[in-house]
């Protein structure tokens, strides 16, 4: 039995294969809910929870799922956990849920969740799968919070609903348009950093 390097899995989820900026998967919510830090954070928490639980479940059941029906089975596992998240959010975060309920439900169609279940959890033991799911979810959460800070600060001059600037420097940032701008600029910036300081190729993955 080889020793599993949890640190590598963890780093991979947050930097190497950051779901939003690196793999460019599941972009819809990344643009949609990041008009404020709080929304981005709650969405990130929802995804973190779903990914961890899905990876755990798939990993536990991997010996019982026939490979021929594995994708439908994963989809039902994901749908179940999303339903759980959805119901909890609807009960305890009513104000936020009104804005982003649709996006919470659509976590079920996230490519990143299915791809981690298929690529990692279905082949690995319980604990590494949980760590993988959690760190991928954390990478997603970080990306959302980063975008949320950028957009809320420029668009409303506030952070987490608290006024900081007292003015609204760039109102466009909280409009739908701003989401796309923020995302494009952020990706370009990270690519630039990657190429300049780390000698990477600095290319964003193809969108799926």
């Amino acid at each position: 039995m080889t020793k599993v390097d949890y640190w590598t899995i963890f780093k991979n989820g947050i930097f190497g294969e950051n779901p939003v900026f690196r793999l460019a998967l599941s972009l819809c919510p990344a643009v949609a809910v990041t008009s404020g830090v709080k929304n981005g954070f709650l969405m990130g928490v929802a995804v973190l929870f779903v990914m961890t639980m899905v990876n755990a479940t798939v990993s536990l059941l991997r010996k019982f799922i026939n490979p021929k029906v594995r994708i439908p089975s994963y989809m039902f596992i994901i749908a179940t956990w999303v339903t759980v998240t959805d119901q909890v959010m609807a009960a305890y975060q009513r104000a936020v849920y009104k804005d982003m309920g649709l996006y919470i439900m659509l976590i079920v169609a996230f490519a990143i969740v299915l791809s981690r279940a298929e690529m990692f959890a279905s082949r690995n033991k319980f604990l590494p799968s949980v760590v993988d799911g959690a760190s991928m979810g954390l990478g997603f959460l970080l990306a959302l919070v980063l975008l949320g800070i950028f957009r809320e600060f420029l668009g409303k001059g506030s952070l987490w609903g608290h006024q900081i600037l007292g003015s609204k420097p760039l109102l466009i940032m909280i409009l739908p348009t701003g989401g796309f701008f923020a995302m494009g600029l952020m990706m370009g910036f990270l690519n630039w950093i990657d190429r300049k300081f780390f000698g990477g190729t600095g290319s964003s993955g193809g969108a799926h």
Partner: protein
């Protein structure tokens, strides 16, 4: 009545365009708009699947889920219905119209777990739309999505010749471009008030 249905149709196609103001279907949007031909094929397939998927899900939601109070299971049931329907369409098309299958079959495989296909029945269920209204929403959203794909594909063909900073090549510049188109679509927002 008819006016209301028409309003839903126009609103879902232009004002609440899936890509530009609801931010759904971005993965497909950036994935298939590199070539015009794929963009057109994709918009046809999407609109058809959306219409049929919305109708099926509406029937199940209204006649099975509401009477038995299974509303909380809508995510699980809708995704199951869509996946089963797309799989069936795939198999039937392969047997009946192989020519059409080779043109559109590859898109069908991509559709199963796509957010916008699933978003339409979810919105219908949330708004308690009638069958006619659901169809209007599905058709409007499908055509609106097709419009977005075709606009983007035609711009990206021009983009091939542009000299873009290295860090911005590929996705980042596409995002900025989408932002600009979304800005133009913002102009539709005062057209109808729902």
């Amino acid at each position: 009545m008819l006016e209301h249905v028409l309003t839903i149709f126009v609103a879902s196609a232009l004002i609440n365009n899936f890509v530009f103001s609801r931010y759904l279907g971005l993965c497909i949007f950036f994935g298939v708009t590199k070539r015009m031909e794929t963009a057109v094929g994709m918009s046809f397939t999407f609109t058809a699947v959306m219409l049929i998927g919305a109708a099926l899900n509406w029937l199940i939601y209204t006649y099975v889920m509401i009477p038995y109070q299974l509303g909380f299971l809508k995510i699980v049931i809708f995704i199951g219905v869509v996946a089963a329907f797309v799989q069936a369409a795939d198999t039937i098309m392969k047997k009946v119209t192989p020519a059409l299958y080779y043109k559109l079959g590859i898109y069908l495989a991509l559709i199963v777990t796509n957010c916008i296909i699933l978003a339409v029945p979810l919105i219908n269920a949330e708004e308690h739309y009638s069958l006619l209204e659901s169809m209007a929403l599905a058709l409007g959203s499908g055509l609106g999505f097709g419009l977005a794909l075709i606009i983007m594909a035609s711009i990206r063909e021009k983009l091939e010749l542009a000299d873009i900073p290295k860090s911005f090549q590929g996705l980042p510049i596409s995002f900025v471009l989408t932002g600009l188109i979304a800005l133009a679509f913002l102009g539709f927002s005062g057209m109808i008030t729902l």
